[in-house]
């Protein structure tokens, strides 16, 4: 399962004591080769955490031996000490597995602006190294959780080769480029260029279409590591499809575990003049607090959908827009033709589907979001995260 589904990888998850809860908080993923090709995408937030600044450098040569991850602290905006802690943790992993620090990726998640306890982290890394195993994927997936209610793991692949991944994320989910913390491994033979292409193609239409609360993280990172131990070199299309399958599966798991959500809202925009238009319309709806609160109240308030669409610069004429909610065509031609009665919409299922047809072209995109609930407000006001 998870990052150890593919051959050539060992992983572990241990409790270092970084989290006050005493839950597991340090994970390690090691690539035993024979190859060590890698790719990554990072948050497009310009305020980047120390591990992102570090990992951007380590991935530059397309090689990685390992990734070390911690929850219990974002290691972001805590001064020069914070970067030194990231550097020291990479050095320690390199020393333990035999390699160079610049081949160790680092990820952190938790509260921004707090120091990360270096002695605790280093002791945790040593323990994680001791605990490495061929079936340590689930432990690693558990150790990176923050407000997640469950570990997130996915597997795909082809004949004789596999792709596996793990993710964490439940809030601050509005990736601009990458998202959250994700490590994906494969035993396929693939160059870092092929991995990079497959990863960017996959994240563009999976993680990047998830926007649960409009808030972009400082720590988002997605790593893709290839051991080549299967000896199989899939085509670019095969690799891209398998990586995308894992990303899509993890995206679904992130979506349905979003903080405080009572509805998982799927926003399918069609009839757009371009895919960019479809995404911007979908994102505007996904970021409308008023629409999201209405869905929480089981109110198919399509007026708030139109109000959100109107804030975009997508190509459309208001009188051509159709909106359906959970299969009921509540708005036809921007209200110029009679819609079906909104009170026939059944909003009780957790899954809600909004279909928008802009009537302006043939492009489409689907965005995923959550409703705005009392539980969301509670989770993000009662606790510092």
């Amino acid at each position: 399962m998870s990052v150890t589904a593919a051959a050539g990888f060992r992983a572990s998850g241990v409790t270092a004591g970084l989290k006050p809860s005493g839950k597991p908080d340090v994970a390690l993923v090691v690539n035993d080769g024979p190859r060590r090709d890698a790719a990554a995408v990072f948050t497009s937030n310009r305020c980047k955490a120390n591990p992102v600044l570090w990992s951007e450098r380590t991935i530059a040569d397309g090689k990685l031996d390992a990734v070390v991850l911690n929850s219990g602290g974002a290691n972001c905006y805590n001064g020069p000490e914070g970067f030194q802690t990231t550097h020291a943790s990479a050095e320690l992993v390199a020393e333990l597995i035999g390699g160079g620090a610049f081949d160790v990726g680092v990820c952190s998640t938790g509260l921004i602006g707090q120091p990360l306890d270096r002695p605790l982290l280093e002791a945790g890394i040593r323990a994680a190294h001791q605990a490495l195993s061929d079936d340590g994927g689930p432990d690693a997936a558990t150790a990176i959780m923050t407000t997640d209610t469950k570990p997130k793991q996915a597997v795909s692949g082809g004949a004789g080769w596999s792709v596996g991944g793990m993710a964490k994320g439940a809030g601050m989910l509005a990736p601009g480029l990458a998202t959250m913390l994700v490590v994906i491994t494969t035993d396929a033979v693939a160059t870092s260029g092929a991995l990079d292409a497959a990863l960017r193609q996959a994240t563009r239409t999976t993680f990047d279409r998830l926007d649960t609360d409009g808030c972009m993280s400082t720590n988002d990172t997605v790593f893709l590591l290839a051991s080549g131990s299967s000896g199989v070199e899939p085509s670019a299309e095969e690799l891209a499809a398998a990586v995308k399958a894992v990303c899509a599966d993890l995206t679904q798991q992130l979506w349905t575990d979003a903080e405080g959500a009572h509805h998982d809202i799927e926003i399918a925009v069609a009839g757009a003049a371009s895919e960019d238009d479809a995404v911007s319309v979908g994102r505007a709806i996904a970021r409308s607090n008023l629409f999201k609160a209405a869905v929480f109240g089981n109110d198919p308030n399509w007026g708030r959908v139109l109000a959100a669409i109107g804030t975009t610069d997508a190509v459309f004429e208001p009188q051509h827009i159709d909106v359906a909610i959970n299969g009921v065509q509540v708005c036809r031609a921007g209200g110029t033709k009679a819609g079906d009665p909104a009170d026939t919409v059944d909003m009780s299922p957790r899954h809600a589907r909004v279909e928008v047809d802009l009537g302006a072209g043939a492009s489409s995109a689907t965005l995923l979001t959550s409703d705005l609930t009392h539980d969301y407000v509670h989770e993000n006001s009662a606790y510092s995260t």
Copy 2:
């Protein structure tokens, strides 16, 4: 008070029965002259309500005899009937006061996508015409309320001349150009060009700096009407200052009555390379649900402030950003220098002030927003508005 503070205006507010609550819902403001110069700004939402589509035409010649306003229905996205209702209401007002329909501005507010009851509205307009009086401003300000808890009125002016105004708005407050429903009157002598310049200058730094929930309305309208009955022609600067004073006062009232808010949050951005940069940084913070929920929880979570700033394309270097919350310098130089302890910040007052210094220039701007609370979610999920 309000729109009848200036000489040459009569106003009224009556109950037509458009609101299920039985509260006043139709207001009429009439300019008795001798001059009838006018200006207006409207929502930049591309999905515009029928009264906005109508009023954009009527203001084109810079003249208005009257404005009729209703709450209890936005008259938006309800088909050709909706526009005909707007047209019919302008025709009726013109007939009653003796003039042309194209000199009557129309504003509506309430639920989008529902028909507006024309017979009820027309009976209300006749009653409002009967009720017109020189001191009807407060009644008019009351009749345009929706989820507002109090009527909003303001007065300014100079020697021998006055400016008065009324506003309504408590949710869907993120004006892109104008905002909410606002009618401002003056007895100054001023051309429509002078009024337009004064109004755009004023709204740019008052209503346009208010963003309580990131949601832009389909109906936002600000009218400015001048009767010239004082005989005084103030300078462009004097007129601009008085109009801005009224807009700023009404903005404060809108801000502090925002739906469900427990904190009125002032975000003062300084050290920006341009005013546009300062506004975009302020707006990004104002739209961060995570930061707004933290403020509700009395948590001065400056990490969420930095995460929001990082999503903008403003000129800055992360390691130069200072953040103070309620006077405590919680973040210095992007965390590279020690900040003062966050637990010394007193978040208990309703007014919260966030000061951001980008260290990138000499421009500044202040944005106004609200916290994200259970009451906000309740108001926008339990009721259709």
